[in-house]
Amino acid sequence: MKFVQNLFDATRPAVTTGKLKGLYPLHNALETMFFVPNHNAHSGAHVRDAIDMKRTMVTVIFALVPALIFGLFNAGYQHHLAIGQIESGWANFWTLENAMYGALKVVPMIAVTYIAGLAIEIYFAYRNKHAVNEGFLVSGLLIPLIMPVDIPLWMVAISTAFAVLIGKEVFGGTGMNILNPALTARAFAFFAYPTYMSGDKVWAGLSNVDGVSSATALGQYATTGSTDYSAWDAFLGIIPGSIGETSTVAILIGAVYLISTGVGSWKIMFSAVLGALAMGLVFNGVADLMISPEQQSYLAVPFYYHLVFGGFAFGAVFMATDPVSAAHTERGKWIYGFLVGVFSIMIRVFNPAYPEGVMLAILLMNVMAPLIDHYVVNANIQKRLKRAQTVQA
């Protein structure tokens, strides 16, 4: 490590006072990635805490690791299964071959996302003369995890660039964005290249095998009203789907870690699950009133299925809890999370064009979050005002 430290020390004069002044944000970003910054406060009293933005972001990345590792194995497993090389079953899941195939597909995606996103971030840091923000550390890992394995790398790059530029930088960078950047990237890819993303045939690393592809559970539901995958398989995660979204178990491990470190809001996660369950139950209840059989069959999907299929768990744990774009008030978080759950299931069931509703539900609620906060804050003011008046009277 001494060598790295020396390297940074040696190059510091060049970027602080020397010719390469413009590169200071880049230097600073790389240095703080390796070492705890030795910045000192210059005035006033400051409370110093080890949880700065970088630590928060790294915590989220740790929480994503189980889903990522499971995704690697699952990518290889689904691929080998689809080309008929292996039998289905857990015996063939945790194999080196699967992991190798998954890594070959996923690692380039992660690399492309980071290169495309960071290039724009660094350019804007340089242009606006501020340090490179850490926000993209998480977005850069989230984006590959919510993409199908098969998507061409250039689409990943364009979606990432769009999300960072239009979703974040035009609003003023990290912390100012209205929408979750990772979901913005997915939404862009979803609407721009629907054939790659549309949900029914998004899987499975098969570009070299023509005519073979496996439908996701939600895709099957949207077209036929039933699925081959059991809820238990979906819970464990050996079903086709985007890289990080399939295994509810792996996501739950991440959720526990996020909640225990206090980084993710348990209120949002919990109320999102409540919302989804409530909506699922309502749909189950009214299923018999529907006339057309397709509508009926989708409405009658057992309510707990919605929690384990598709990207719901991933969205509720990692996307809806984004501290920037979620509601900020404590009561607002309950409302926000609940509505995320409700709209996710509603879009899934009612709109056959969008087999997956979580992305759109969270983006919609991202937009609504400031409104929720506004009313929660106002209600609080009114309440206290009333109290003060009764005390006075």
Partner: protein
């Protein structure tokens, strides 16, 4: 003692001031990107270059002639009913344009559908009549109309250029990307470009680019 009145110096047809009337709407007072008028039609008809061009031309004709006509009769219009008079003039011109489009470019006219008729509600036209031609001589008003119509059309063309090129891979329905061979490299058309939200985003990017170039447009905080 002569009471000879010194003849007023006649302003040249394309004096500096008049030229400014033509060129200003392209940048500093562009109807779409600066005054944010006429957005709805800009979103609706910029999927392809051809309708955008035809729409731009139609709006140039309507703004120019409605400005000219109202300016000619500006001293005879009773102030109270001026909006009705303006509407009559604009409506007549729009109907003429609509009929001409139907007669000569029927397919484009079908694509533009209601938006030709809706030129009458385009805020640019009423805005220019109210703000300019009611208080200025005919020639100037005519130039102002052409300038604003063209400023509007220019933005439509820019937005439509990117939307058609990236969304369909064509320009004026002529394949551009296919002969270049980019599809063989794995390129796919961007379906989002064909959806209305992308027009809004393209417009925002145009405004961004324009403001970075013309610093005088940036509001002081």
């Amino acid at each position: 003692m002569s009471t000879e009145v010194k003849p007023q110096e006649k302003e040249r047809l394309f004096s500096k001031k008049n030229r400014k009337l033509l060129t200003d709407p392209f940048n500093e007072s562009n109807p779409i990107t600066v005054q944010v008028l006429g957005i709805c039609s800009a979103l609706a008809i910029t999927v392809k270059m051809k309708p955008a061009l035809v729409m731009g031309l139609s709006v140039i004709v309507v703004t120019a002639f409605s400005n000219l006509i109202t300016s000619l009769i500006r001293n005879y219009i009773p102030n109270r009913i001026r909006i009705i008079v303006q509407l009559v003039v604009v409506a007549a011109l729009v109907i003429i344009v609509d009929q001409i489009l139907k007669a000569y470019v029927y397919d484009v006219s079908k694509q533009l559908s209601v938006f030709v008729g809706l030129i009458i509600t385009n805020c640019i036209i009423m805005g220019r009549i109210e703000a300019f031609s009611l208080g200025n001589p005919p020639w100037k008003s005519f130039l102002d109309g052409i300038g604003n119509g063209a400023g509007y059309g220019a933005i439509l063309i820019v937005v439509a250029f990117f939307r058609e090129l990236l969304g369909s891979g064509t320009l004026f329905d002529v394949p551009i990307l296919e002969p270049l061979g980019v599809y063989e490299l794995g390129y796919k058309n961007n379906g989002m470009m064909l959806l209305p939200p992308m027009a809004l985003i393209m417009l925002a990017l145009v405004i961004w680019a324009q403001r970075s170039r013309t610093k005088s447009l940036i509001e002081k905080e």
